[in-house]
Amino acid sequence: MRSLGGARGPCGLRALFIFLAVSLAVLGALCAAQTAAAQGVRLVATTSDLASLARAVTGDLAQVETIIPPAADPEAFQPRPSDLAKLKGASVVARVGLGYDHWLDKLLQKHGDAAVNRGGPGYVDASVGIPLIEVKGRSLDATGRDGHAHGLANPHYWLDPANAEVMTGGIAEAVIRVAPELTEKIIANRDEFLDRLKARRNEWEQLLAPHRAARLIAYHNTWPYFARRFRLDIVDVIEVKEGVSPSPARLAKLAALIREQKVRVILHEPFEPEEASQLLARRTGAVVLKLAPSVGSMPDATHYLALFDYNVGALARALSAASN
């Protein structure tokens, strides 16, 4: 036993060492490959929502950066020189499109890398394939009645969680185009995210089901996709022209509408001026509810799913409290 053991001991130990060395080498190679991939794929998204979806799709396989800071008004955003630096070396650029992040075109032209410019393999316009609503036409329209002075349609499509499938599809395709070796992992990540999203969607829809057709007023026309998904009626918006405060005649008309239609909640965004909404609330008894239009715009909206957890939860609570 001993001699056997003594004879097998060094052999077994060597084998163990070899096994450990090989395992470490393989693990190291895998880590190196993953680090190389992470270093190799750098995705720049114009908004925090697209960045959150990109993180869900790429996991730790890509470095994801955002241009518009969370809680800033994306429609009034002015890019800085540091944003140009972000685009340098980016392998994928994801944008909302529809004129919402129109300033990106100039940055991309200066950037000059054809791969992330329109038509390049790393260019993602996340609006492609989305069922758009409030469509105006292909040309720019400065007289839009929906409060958006630019673009083809209402651009807030990420606020319908069903659209995340199309958006993540566009992002995944671009990442796969620039790093085909990540195909399987990207597809697996996306599938896993969509499974979680589906489960949560059911919960959100159930939570708001008792409030179907609830009438709401919004400060800005941000919520039509959200309203469509959760069957809500946004009867009017306070800010008709983007960036122009409402006239007193409009406020008087809205006050009458709120009473007549029994509107209980006024939807507001954190970066919008509160005065008009609060004035209407004081006159009519409606409640001003701050919802998160984007990931990071409210402390609880830390990622794409949390954005809906917060918005749906807050709205359901406000509507329940108002009906009680």
Binding site: P69, P70, A71, A72, D73, A76, Q78, P131, L132, I133, E134, V135, K136, G137, R138, S139, L152, A153, A162, R212, A213, P224, A227, R228, R231, L232, D233, I234, G243, V244, S245, P246, S247, P248, A249, R250, L251, A252, K253, A255, A256, P270, F271, E272, P273, E275, A276, Q278, L279, R282, R283
Partner: protein, 431 residues
């Protein structure tokens, strides 16, 4: 609705009356000191203070926010007081201008660190007079009454200091009363800017005071006239914004400007001394005639030179006399009217689809993604087709105007330039 209109108008009007009360008095002193832009500079310095407070995590209306704003305003008041001493080597107004732009640029740099900075800067500029609350009105009335009483008690040394503007080496007494004035001025401006915004506060300060000084050099009479004009302009601005359905702050600023023009007209053409009255009326008539003839002459010439360009005067004439289709051939006229009708029809259909989709968000069965895409696609097509029809309308209107230029443009230009020549000739003719 009428009840809402009155409710929405009552508090802003009360605030505007209170603002007019204190700002007219301060404005009269600003005019005497010849530092008209001191208000803008001080308001901007206080806005910088409020911005620093917001970035440091204090709400503008909080104690911390108010402390920051007051501290910056006090520094601004000290700088303005010191600026009188600079008058030996540099014009005081130039220094005030530099202070204004430096404070504005610093505000932009500070808000660059805050995600909601752009909104904050806009709010400081245009304010939100419409949403002033009863508590704020009470706070303003108490604060401004206290400052008003203080100024009334020390009115003599204050006015003496403001009269002493020519002194390039002011004595200690003048410096002290300058500091008192700028500090109290700063407190008022700081409080008012938060509600009314920099633009409107400038109007409250300067326009009623200007109107008052137009009619009287006595400060008491000028103050009474300024108050009356300020209250009338505020009421016209606030109620005017209801009537024309436009933002209150902007309409009130325009109402103040209109009040100044009207007051200037009254002063020149109605209340001027008898010997000046006839002269002023004759000059006013000539100036008006010259403006109208120049406008008509240049518009007519512009129609002749570039018939396809924008022509506001010609459009007004067309509206009064019937559209440009009168200058089209029967075939062109039919196409013109048809294109305009088709454009209207497309727009109506786009609106119908918009309402259909909007109602489907909460009524009946939910539209599928493909149905929504189809609606969007039809809306997009109709909008583009409508723009095509608009192009046809514009093209035919340009064709009409190419003919119209000889029938309307040329006579208009001739009328305008002959009118100018007649007015100039009668002006130069020996009396």
């Amino acid at each position: 609705m009428l009840e809402d209109v009155l409710a929405f108008a009552a508090l802003p009007l009360a605030a505007a009356v209170i603002f007019t009360g204190i700002h007219t008095w301060l404005g009269l002193q600003v005019l005497r000191r010849n530092v008209v832009f001191a208000d803008l500079a001080l308001a901007q310095v206080s806005a910088l203070g409020a911005t620093v407070a917001v970035v440091a995590g204090h709400a503008v209306q909080s104690t911390g926010g108010y402390a920051y704003t007051l501290l910056f305003t006090a520094v601004g008041a000290l700088l303005l007081t010191a600026s009188r001493g600079l008058a030996r080597s540099v014009r005081q107004e130039a220094f005030i201008g530099v202070l204004y732009v430096a404070a504005t640029a610093a505000t932009v740099l500070v808000v660059d660190r805050s995600p909601q900075g752009a909104e904050h800067v806009k709010k400081m500029l245009v304010g939100s007079l419409l949403s002033v609350t009863a508590d704020e009105v009470l706070k303003f009335s108490m604060l401004y009454a206290a400052i008003g009483v203080l100024h009334w008690l020390v009115r003599r040394p204050l006015l003496a200091a403001s009269d002493n503007t020519g002194a390039t080496t002011p004595d200690r007494k003048t410096i002290f009363w300058d500091l008192v004035f700028y500090l109290s001025f700063g407190v008022v401006v700081t409080s008012s800017v938060g509600v009314a915004g920099v633009l409107l506060v400038f109007c409250f300060l300067i326009v009623p005071a200007l109107i008052g000084t137009l009619f009287s050099s006595q400060i008491g009479v000028a103050l009474l006239i300024g108050w009356a004009a300020g209250v009338a302009a505020s009421a016209a601005g606030i109620f005017g914004s209801f009537v024309i359905d436009a933002p209150t702050g902007a309409v009130t600023v325009v109402a103040f400007a209109a009040a100044l023009v009207i007051a200037g007209g009254v002063r020149a053409f109605i209340t001027a001394p008898a010997e000046q009255l006839r002269h002023n009326r004759r000059r006013g008539l000539r100036a008006s005639g010259l403006i109208v003839c120049t406008l008509l002459g240049i518009s007519g010439l512009w129609v002749v030179v570039a018939p396809a360009a924008d022509h506001p005067v010609l459009s007004a004439i067309e509206m009064a006399t019937g559209g440009p289709e009168r200058f089209l051939t029967p075939r062109e006229r039919a196409d013109y009217l048809d294109a305009a009708a088709v454009e209207r029809r497309h727009k109506a259909e786009v609106d119908r689809l918009y309402d259909l989709e909007r109602r489907s968000r909460w009524q009946g069965g939910e539209l599928t993604a493909d149905e929504v895409r189809r609606i969007g696609s039809v809306q997009q097509t109709l909008t583009e087709m409508g723009r095509g029809e608009r192009f046809v309308v514009n093209y035919l209107r340009a064709r009409a105007r190419e003919r119209e230029r000889w029938y309307i443009g040329l006579p208009l230009a001739a009328f305008g330039f002959v009118g100018i020549a007649v007015i100039v000739w009668t002006t130069r003719r020996p009396q």
